[in-house]
Amino acid sequence: MSEHTISTKSYYLVFLALMAGTALTTWVAFLDLGWFNTPVALSIAWTKAMLVVLYFMHVRQSTKLTKLVAAAGVFWLLLLLGLTMGDIATRGWLGSPGK
């Protein structure tokens, strides 16, 4: 078992960052950023998820194999999203028959 050396102070800082992220998400939800609405919300969510994975789940200080496992999870999620979006983004390209 690897020794985890994250200090208590770091945990509090990460916790504060997560809270700040939540507040930011709420604030941004009331702003009309046009096309950027979704990307901004997803970016904040991604940052928060990374903080949880790296610090609270100790991936930052884990072995390379553990990092590989975590990265594989992210990669597979991207496969799911990427190929699904590949359908959704191109569905209208041919138009409907008769139109």
Binding site: G73, L80, L83, T84, G86, D87, I88, T90, W93
Partner: protein, 549 residues
Amino acid sequence: MITAPISVPEREHYLNASYGLKSWLLTKDHKRIALLYLATITFFFFLGGLFAVMIRLELLTPEGDMVQSETYNKLFTMHGVNMVFFFLLPAIPAVLGNFLVPLMIGARDLAFPKLNLASWYIFTIGGLFTLYALLSGGVDTGWTFYTPYSTTYSNSFVIATAVGIFIAGFSSILTGLNFIVTIHRMRAPGLTWFRLPLFIWSHYAASLIMVLGTPVIAVTILLLAAERAFHIGIFDPALGGDPVLFQHLFWFYSHPAVYIMILPAMAVISELVAASARKRVYGYEFVAYASVAIAVFGFLVWGHHMFVSGQSVYAGLVFSVLSYLVAVPSAVKVFNWTATLHKGSIALETPMLYTFGFIGLFTIGGMTGLFLAALGLDVHVHDTYFVVAHFHYVMVGGTIMAYLGGLHYWWPKMTGRMYPEILAKLAALTVFIGFNLTFFPQFILGYLGMPRRYHAYPEEFQVLNVMSTAGASVLAVGYLLPMCYFIWSLRYGKVAADNPWGAVGLEWQTLSPPPVENFDEIPTVTHEAYDYVSLPNGSVTPKKEAHVR
């Protein structure tokens, strides 16, 4: 002179080390847990089989005269749900995998024995939920739960069934996790990755899918339940959702799930081919890599289930090409098994008969899969009996043939008893004939345009349907026979030797049945897998210096 009978104290093994229901229900021994799974999935197999019998009886005549269409919908749904989630997915990994993975890698148990027992309980609880749904009135959505029918219109027990599958999914994740950690951390000294039996490689690949794919179906089921119960718009267009999104999420798991079924089947076949031909599997490394390639490529092809769903044509093109790609590693395996048999000293025992059955039937199933991956042809045969025949050739002709072959091969190790060989060969033949008689006519029916999931059909399809039903009766006999003689063999079967096949795997180097801790001493591995040249009789004593990679 009166002589007292000499009583030889029976050797202690995992079956007689402790007695009583409690000793089984609280066991942490992977071998006992495998047997718990064996009993559970056998129950679900025959339950699913009962639904199949009713489906085939209904289709004996063109009219819908035995059950009403609503009941028929429930029959094929419960057949699919039972067979896919509660038999085919756990069959080989949870029974043979659980029993053999630690034995094959020279370990005393899996990495997390308590988690292993928990997996069985979770699986059983999931099964009970589904059973509850069945007894309460059943579910009629098809095993695919397509929306918006499942979320909005179906009046059957969708949520109860879905919860059952959701719960059982965790069992799959935990088993996969247990296998991955065990294979990484608990291999015997000297057992490098490229000395591992191909059984382990395939189970490793299948475990990756279990861990990476199953959470997605769990989330999908939760979303389905959320829409059905709380009308949250996710999939129903009337609520602002997208029904094709459900199909994406569902098939992202459910297509790779086919590989959770077939990769462990391939695992069994690799062992059976090597042991029967007494040769190293031809192109061992390629077969090992092919397992991982199937697991990875298997995640990229799900859209071929959706060519006529309204999915973009461009996405369809990509999925079509990727689907052809996954055929390559599958073909590598089939060709390499065949090449292994070339000039092999083939023993035509029962396990090998099932192996021949697997290779032939899986090839037909796989090749017809290529037909279905072709965009144009798929439009013609989509949702017809051609598809039904295709996936039964893969799942039943593939997975169940391998499962039965594996059960026969390792039965002596699991129970310490031999099965009756002649009867077993007869059963293998019965299964093969019954299977082909059942499902080959369905290819023709599908090509002629008979759609699946209808309880009535035009009269011109009757002859082929009668053939199919007759075949199902033969198949049922073929499946009942092994169950009967396996149970018979527990008491009356010939006592098995520790290594009745003269095979070289580590599982054959311990006693039959194995002791609780598997090995008296953890073995040190000095040979590559299937080294029949150095170890001609499966003996651990080498004839000559082992070839060390």
